[in-house]
């Protein structure tokens, strides 16, 4: 036996290494610097690390690379436009999360440098979700994504809500991971390999074993992206976790789940499409109905946004279901996630500004009269609510337009009808926030600091751009989608 070095191109995984390494660097800094100074510098350092990774990622756009290729086998890591585009989404999520956290954490007494550390680790896992070309790496990336989130959810321990949030997230997350890894094992049993190209080649002859594997992996992803009927944890976890963590996971964990789901299901399990597309379509419909209908009765903005995030998972699932039979499915999903990133983080930024203390100022009634006290931020919140509903000219509208179009192209007319009807229903609870802000008088106040205002301004701008010029951005997502799938089919 002799050791044969696999082909390694470090530049390809450099963005991930930078992000994970930034987390490790923060940890080491505490050895050499006073704790207070580390706390002071942690956000800046996180932003620098994210910016470096962002530049590196942008530089890789348009290129296709593979790395960690062992002798005579397929590569572990693949970087194509699909992965690059998702990495941009994750890095922007991290960037906005830092901006909204800088002043929030000290205000509620949670200022700890570990927060940024764990956030960076989680981000590195998310980035790997889109780059993994092997089911083992998908599973590890999923865990690297999740474990820091379990801890972040419990950051405001010993507050009971936060402990409940962390415990629920941990138990259900561990349970779903177990189901997911069982699915991987069955797929391995059916195809003889965990490498995605080999799975693609063998899965259509896999019989019942392969189908069971696909079903269990669907359940595992369903938990991660909070799709009904695997959504039960979402409202409690989102409500109990510190709001910045909720914002981070409502975008990051969801997009991370969809990143791997698109890669695994659309390309590797594509030949089984006739079997899993109906299942995903039904799950999407249930998710849309439950998310949008239950959100109506929520008195708490975090719970409302939790159900709203369930509903948005439903819209993205529509695009996933469409992506086997329509060339626009994957790009619609990517565009939707891109628009969702800005809209949802913007809405959370305002919710964070409105939170007085931990868990205070998060009821919808606290939004009464905000329009008089801070007219610009109320306007921004109203704009985000319009975008989440899907009213033009917003990024949310463009995203929904592309998703519905792809669904119709794929011949899932009934699903598109469900999507449109539930969008109309969602108008009720989103616009009620606007109504409360403008039509009532109230005591609510907003904590506004430059960093948070920057985040709000940038997200408003991005949502507006995506709403006014969707065509140019859609072309980019189209390139990302096409290249991503071609490579895997060929490799």
């Amino acid at each position: 036996m002799e050791f044969v070095t696999p082909t390694i191109n470090i530049l390809i995984v450099l963005p991930v290494l930078l992000v994970a390494g930034g987390g490790a660097l923060l940890m080491l800094l505490e050895l050499f610097m006073a704790e207070e100074r580390v706390k002071q510098w942690a956000p800046t350092l996180a932003i620098i690390v994210l910016a470096l990774a962002f530049l590196q990622t942008i530089g890789l756009w348009g290129q296709t690379h593979t790395t960690f290729t062992p002798e005579g086998s397929s590569p572990m890591v693949i970087l194509d436009n699909f992965a690059t585009f998702l990495n941009v989404i994750f890095l922007l999520t991290g960037f906005f999360t830092v901006l909204i956290s800088v002043n929030y954490l000290p205000r509620v007494g949670l200022n700890r440098s570990e927060y940024y550390m764990l956030m960076l680790f989680s981000l590195s896992g998310m980035m790997l979700m889109g780059m993994a070309n092997d089911l083992i790496l998908v599973f590890l990336a999923l865990e690297v994504l999740s474990i820091p989130l379990y801890i972040l959810a419990g950051l405001s321990r010993p507050r009971p809500e936060s402990e409940e949030s962390a415990m629920k997230y941990f138990f259900l997350g561990a349970f779903s991971s177990a189901i997911f890894v069982f699915g991987i094992a069955l797929t391995y049993g059916a195809t003889g390999s965990t490498a995605l190209p080999a799975v693609l080649a063998g899965v259509s002859n896999g019989g019942a074993l392969a189908l069971a594997g696909v079903a269990m992996m669907l359940v595992g992803f369903g938990f991660k992206v909070a799709a009904a009927p695997f959504h039960m944890w979402t409202p409690d976890v989102y409500e109990g976790a510190p709001t910045v963590v909720t914002a981070f996971m409502s975008v990051g964990a969801k997009v991370g789940g969809f990143a791997a789901m698109l890669r695994v299901f659309v390309s590797a399990f594509g030949s089984l499409g006739q079997t899993w597309v109906p299942a995903v379509a039904v799950i999407a419909a249930i998710t849309l109905i439950i998310g949008n209908v239950v959100a109506i009765v929520q008195p708490n903005i975090k719970r409302m946004l939790a159900y709203s995030s369930i509903a948005h998972a439903g819209y993205i699932l529509m695009a996933v279901a469409a992506s086997v039979n329509s060339p626009d499915g994957v790009s619609a999903a990517l565009f939707y996630m891109f628009a969702y990133l800005f809209t949802n983080l913007g809405a959370f930024a305002i919710a964070i500004a409105a939170e007085r203390k931990l868990g205070e100022g998060v009821m919808l009634d606290d939004y009464k009269g905000l329009a008089k006290r801070s007219p610009l931020l109320a306007l921004a919140m109203a704009y985000f609510m319009l975008s989440l509903t899907g009213i033009p000219p917003t990024g949310g509208f463009s995203g929904k337009f592309f998703v519905f179009r792809a669904t119709l192209e794929a011949g899932l007319v009934w699903l598109a009808v469900v999507g449109v009807i539930t969008s109309v229903v969602s108008g009720y609870y989103y616009l009620r926030v606007v109504y409360l802000m403008y039509m009532y008088d109230g005591e609510g106040e907003l904590h506004t600091k430059p960093a948070l205002l920057t985040a709000v301004a940038l997200t408003v701008l991005a949502t507006l751009v995506l709403g006014l010029l969707p065509g140019a951005w859609y072309e980019i997502t189209k390139q990302a989608a096409l290249q991503g799938l071609q490579v895997l089919a060929g490799g």
Binding site: P6, P70, L140, I147, A208, L209
Partner: protein, 168 residues
Amino acid sequence: MVLFIILAISAVAAALGMLFSRNAVHSALFLVLNFAIVAALYLTLNAPFIAMVQITVYAGAIIVLFLFVIMLLGAEQLRGVAGDGGVWQRWLAGGLTAVLLISFASILFQGNAITPASAAGVIDTSPAALGLRLFEAYVFPFEVTGVLLLAAIIGVVVLSISKKRGQQ
């Protein structure tokens, strides 16, 4: 075959001993015995690496954790806990066991109902070959596991000291 029968009988005996002993520490020790015998079974199946992992991870780390928790909580003695739950639980457990046994028996006597695809080539399960695989094909997942464990360790620290520092 003789070796297998001896090992199998002692493994089952150790498992029964674990279930029926009234002292939790004795139960844990029976479990160690069971793990060790199962490791020996792996050895007879030509899987030395899994046997060693079985010893170090299960008989080593996990049992130490069990014993630690049992002794820390002072829960050595089982008090009479029978009563709650009642009869239907026993019937349920019995029924599920029957289902499991019947499905096992049908697989054993009817041949394989499901044939898994065989991995390419002959699989060498010696520790050296596994080590080479780990650092050739799976070197990147191996590194990612490192990040995962680091995040978990930081998490333990964060959650265990949050009370004191959070109040500053």
